[in-house]
């Protein structure tokens, strides 16, 4: 790829010019400054100006290892989309994956190596000096304690680090704040197998999650969500129905939003519930229970009901349902795996799966998910490390891909001071890098070579999608090799590894390494399946009691991972900061969830600042009062409260990790659920929420159908009655409309045209909000920051509305989420009121919005019943302006196909019209019509649950046209006779009371 490098270097120049133009085009008043663009003199091979190239790679935002395709134009990475070839995520991607670009183009990246000088300041140095220093320090540190801390590295880089540290006579520690120690320990207890199995959600007939947030942060969220929705969605016409989903845990997480039933049990008693259910199954022989289950001593429902907080009847019902479903799937994880007794809870759930016969059917050992491998390390290693550091047994500490100083804080921070020489390989000046003596900025994953093994049989490749944004950065692999005085680059090292892999997988039968390697690069890796390993109950299983832990204080605090910011690594990306949390809908700051009853007891109002104190420390958190948390429990997200890590992350609200003890618990994990005392402070803050009214109040935005009702529906009938016009006036109205239409089909409007439309299955929507971020990325939507969000100025074209559904007093609440975007109405109220035709109806049925014709009267928004139009109150694209949303080099990410809007202009979703036109042009070039499914808007493309279908409503064979006829189909506010182009499919909830 040597010439490839040259090509990219050449293209990069263009990248700069193009980027500059894109940024400038948005600025100021009056004519735009002319930009000198360098034209292609000799177009590089395989490059057409304006035509994007896609590079297959692997997402490194979390350890799931989703396959991605990076859209590159004129040498700039513009958009990340899932790689359909990857079995991990099947072409889908989450919000964090989408936001990787803002890590790549982050304005606060470290642009070159730095060393702490005598004055204690970090000053730039040359790479040669830096590497020499590293070499000498490493040499000094030999057998005086050298520790290399990395994030979860399951691939060749991990191997290199292992080798390197071994040679340097040190040890390699993995820092993964939300580790999976409990999972491994629990599996060991139950089956004597400490690996992590895969969970086949798609095959499950009944899904029972004990705290496992498998659609946001647990193991492989995108893949799991995709599989989950295939099991949980309802296919009209089929009587088969859907897998019921029950969520057990004191807090309703994003995953729990999709639950048919949410059981807010007493914190820590999840295991007891599982065991009691197992007991019922065994006692009542509800399944073909394996013989060895006999020696288990399981508690009867009645004996635990009190502690768990459910009545015995419910427990029995759950057990019966679970067993009856045949292929039931119970998963334990997330917060349930972060109690002091997390391992036993996992073991208990394993036992439940075992007795119900799910192990081997829906729970498959053998895949050995990367998180489970030894590479994942454990929190104990970190607490031991902390002790060593404190004791002065660590001379050199190297940190890569982790931010322990932030995540561990407290004791670790003190120990940190005792380490004479600390090296950080971070691309950003996070807390750890800021405290290091030597900073050797690594390439961003999108700029580097690497690979990872998300699970057995899957080898995912990572290749640079573009030249490094900053010349000053250097891939850590290369740095280590140079420091060790080894020849070759990390790429050659990687290829060496893959030679070996080639020999193992393809061997003599293969096409030859080079060919095989190129194929792998194109497909994003090598994908295979691991054989399923059968497991038997271990002896230790008998001893699993999963007794409920005891908590002291006023309340139990759950410190959960923020779905977007996770353990804080997302905090420097404005897209993720401004992405409303799927449950709380809060942006840019942390919060503490308090149940209304508890709030009443403590006399709290939303926005009051609450002082939450645990044995380890305390935080000041603004209160968000919500029914989505168990009374007596408070829940706080991690991710905020950085003291460094760039302009977007720094000094935002609080760091929930402060509540946690650094000491590892008995199974080597970190306890995330602790007893706390609370005290109301006099402080108050306006929550940066995007939620207006969280209840539908009888409105029909997302009417929920019961499973029975849905099963009863036949083709042709419609579950939700839609009466736009009263009966008596219908004939007149239709005649009139027809006449209107005739008068309206002139000029370009005459003749046949497609009508672009969408079908959105609300039942599949989990509220994960990947679509929202994808929309930001595709359409140059500006982020506005906390203050403006508070003032209702967020610019999202597509929002996820989360409604809590009315329930009986005291009952556990349930929720429904639905995407709301421009409905591209046939009779659009927004259009006729525009005095200058900026809002108009395109021939193919879109509500066009001509940004440079708009004068900003804002009448269109007033007249839009869906309120999906947003206004540019300020110039968000003004370079270095007060509200600059794209500080350089974030401007490089701007999509050249989409205008950057200036201040005073109304903007809105147009179904990614640039993609529509692109596909139409492509079709015209090939002299054919656009195929159904050829056009995929950014939101539909990324949606992990495949809830959004786009196509031509006038083509009866198109998927969207067929879905529009679905018995569950309805149009929001159809009674206003707006004739929306978006058909929603009503969500179905097993055992849900009919709403609307």
């Amino acid at each position: 790829m040597g010439d490839g490098m040259n090509r990219r270097r050449f293209l990069k120049v263009l990248g700069v010019a193009g980027g500059g133009a894109a940024a400038l085009s948005g600025c100021g008043i009056g004519p735009e400054p002319t930009e000198k663009l360098i034209p292609y003199v000799v177009p590089p091979e395989g490059q057409t100006p304006g035509i994007a190239t896609y590079y297959a790679s692997t997402c490194r935002e979390c350890a799931a290892g989703c396959g991605i395709q990076v859209k590159v134009r004129e040498g700039r990475a513009l958009k990340i989309e899932g790689n359909p070839a990857s079995p991990v995520n099947r072409g889908r991607l989450c919000a964090r994956g989408q936001a990787a670009l803002q890590g790549l183009y982050n304005p606060d990246r470290v642009t070159g190596p730095m060393r702490r000088n005598a004055a204690g300041q970090l000053e730039p140095v040359s790479w040669d000096d830096a590497i020499t220093t590293l070499r000498s320090k490493a040499a000094e540190a030999r057998d005086r304690g050298l520790v290399f801390v990395t994030g979860l590295e399951s691939g060749s880089f991990g191997d290199l680090v292992d080798e390197w540290t071994k040679e340097a006579g040190g040890r390699h520690v993995t820092c993964e704040p939300f580790g999976f120690e409990a999972l491994r320990e629990g599996n060991r207890l139950a089956f004597g197998d400490a690996s992590v199995p895969t969970y086949d959600f798609a095959a499950a007939g009944y899904i029972l999650s004990f705290g496992a947030d498998f659609m946001e942060t647990w193991l492989s969220p995108v893949g799991f969500q995709n599989a989950f929705t295939r099991a949980h969605s309802f296919e009209s016409g089929t009587s088969s129905g859907m897998a019921k989903f029950v969520y057990v845990g004191p807090r309703m997480s994003q995953t729990a939003l999709s639950a048919d039933e949410w059981l807010p049990v007493t914190p820590g008693t999840e295991g007891l519930l599982a065991l009691a259910m197992a007991q019922v199954i065994v006692r009542q022989r509800l399944a073909t229970v394996p013989a060895d289950a006999a020696r288990l001593s399981l508690p009867a429902p009645a004996s635990v009901a009190q502690v768990v907080g459910l009545d015995a009847g419910t427990i029995e019902r759950l057990a019966r349902e679970f067993a009856a479903a045949g292929a039931g799937l119970a998963v334990a994880g997330g917060m349930a795996a972060h109690y002091a007794n997390g391992a036993e809870i996992v073991a208990a759930v394993n036992i439940l799966n075992y007795v119900a016969g799910s192990v081997g059917r829906t729970v498959k050992f053998g895949a050995d998910l990367a998180h489970g491998s030894g590479a994942a390390g454990s929190h104990r290693e970190l607490s031991d490390l902390t002790a060593d550091m404190a004791a002065g047994n660590v001379a050199v500490l190297l940190v890569h891909g982790a931010n322990p100083l932030y995540a561990l804080g407290g004791a670790f921070a003190q120990a940190w001071a005792k380490v004479p020489f600390k090296v950080s390989f971070s691309s950003y000046l996070d807390e750890t890098a800021a405290g290091a003596d030597l900073v050797l900025p690594d390439h961003h994953p999108l700029e580097q070579w690497n690979d990872s093994r998300p699970r057995a049989g899957v080898y995912a490749l990572q290749q640079p999608a573009m030249l490094p944004v900053f010349d000053g950065t250097l891939q850590t692999g290369d740095v280590l090799l140079r420091a060790a005085g080894k020849p070759g680059s990390f790429k050659t090292y990687l290829q060496g590894k893959w030679e070996a892999l080639y020999q193992r997988l393809a061997g003599a039968r293969g096409p030859g390494f080079d060919q095989w390697w190129t194929d792998a690069l194109q497909r994003g890796g090598v994908y295979g399946d691991a054989p399923v390993r059968s497991v038997r109950l271990a002896t230790a299983a008998a001893g699993v009691a999963a007794a409920a832990p005891s908590f002291t204080g006023d309340a139990v605090a759950v410190v959960f991972p923020h779905p977007a910011l996770h353990d804080g690594r997302g905090a420097n990306k404005p897209w993720l900061q401004e992405l409303p949390d799927p449950v709380s809908k809060l942006t840019w700051h942390g919060w503490v969830e308090v149940h209304p009853d508890t709030a009443a007891k403590w006399q709290l109002a939303s926005g009051d600042v609450l002082l939450v104190k645990s044995a380890a420390g305390g935080v000041n958190a603004p209160v968000w009062i919500t029914p989505s948390v168990r009374p007596g429990v408070v829940a706080l997200p991690t991710g905020q409260g950085h003291t460094a890590y760039g302009r977007h992350a720094q000094n935002r609200s609080f760091k929930a990790f402060d509540l946690l003890d650094v000491e590892a618990n008995e199974y080597g994990g970190r306890t995330h659920v602790v007893g706390v005392t609370v005290a109301k402070t006099t402080d108050h803050r306006r929550l940066a929420s995007t939620e207006g009214t969280g209840r539908q109040l009888g409105e029909d935005v997302a009417p929920v159908l019961s499973l029975e009702r849905a099963r009863g529906l036949h083709a042709g009938e419609h579950a939700i009655e839609e009466e736009g016009v009263p009966e008596y006036a219908r004939a007149a109205e239709e005649g009139w409309a027809e006449a209107q239409h005739e008068k309206a089909s002139l000029g370009n409007y005459a003749g046949e045209h497609p009508r672009w439309a969408m079908a959105i299955d609300v039942g599949k929507c989990t509220g994960c909000s990947a679509c929202v971020t994808a929309c930001y990325a595709e359409n140059n939507v500006a982020t506005v920051g906390e203050d403006l969000v508070v003032r209702g100025r967020e610019m999202a074209w597509l929002r996820i509305e989360r409604y809590f559904r009315p329930v009986a007093r005291g009952a556990a609440v349930s929720a429904v989420t639905t995407p709301m975007l421009c409905q591209q109405c046939g009779n659009a109220p927004c259009e006729p009121v525009c005095p200058v035709f900026a809002a108009y109806h395109t021939t193919d049925g879109l509500n066009g919005q001509i940004y440079n014709r708009c004068v900003g009267t804002r009448y269109c928004s007033n007249n839009c019943p869906y309120k999906v139009r947003v206004f540019n109150w300020h110039n968000y694209a003004e370079a270095d302006g007060v509200w600059d949303a794209f500080p350089a080099p974030l401007t490089w990410q701007l999509n050249p196909d989409v205008t950057v809007r200036e201040k005073g202009v109304m903007e809105k979703c147009t179904f990614c019209v640039q993609r529509i036109r692109g596909a139409q042009n492509a079709a015209r070039m090939e002299d054919r019509t656009v195929r159904d499914g050829e056009i995929v808007p950014a939101c539909a493309q990324t949606c992990p649950s495949d809830a959004i279908v786009f196509g031509d409503l006038n083509d009866p064979r198109s998927r969207v046209a067929q879905l529009a006829e679905d018995p569950r189909g309805y149009h929001v506010l159809a009674r206003l006779n707006t004739k929306p182009g978006v058909t929603y499919l009503a969500p179905v909830r097993a055992g849900a009371a009919e709403e609307a």
Binding site: A737, A739, Q740, H741, K743, A744, S745, L746, G747, Y749, G826, N827, A828, P829, C830, E831, P832, C834, F837, A839, Y840, H841, K979
Partner: protein, 181 residues
Amino acid sequence: MTPKVLRDIFHPPQTPGVLAVFGHLDATVDAIGQLKAGGHGDELTVYSPIPRHELEEALDQPTSPVRMWTLIGGMTGCGIGAWLTLYMSYDWPVVVGGKPVGSILPYVIIMFEMTVLFGALTTILGLILNALLASRHQGTIAYDPRFTNDKFGIFVRCAPDQAASLEGLLKGAGAEEVRRA
């Protein structure tokens, strides 16, 4: 040097005649009657601080032609309104809200407003032109500042030889003051 036409309009030549100042309305009316009887009907110019129907009746002149201006102006405006809206709609046909490109109903509003606008402007135009024509017809005639305050006045255009008799007539009718111009 202003062209002759304009000079004639703005500075018409001095007209010879007699100017009488009246303090009372009925006296003025009386004088007008006598003058008309004396065959001076169309050489009269009556000044008054306010319009009085007594004077109008005494003079009994035809109704002002201004109303025709209003009518024509109004109709023109209405037409322009219709043309503006319909032409522009079909010149750049854009469909909005599923409504017809040229929809008369909302355009009626524009037509109405244009009717009023043009009607009003032409009315003013009519007033100005008619008044100008009249003053050109009269030429420059004698005037007294009190006429805009509380006095009525009559100016009779006449040759110097007739002046004496007219003075007598006016005095008789109750003029407070009579002078020649």
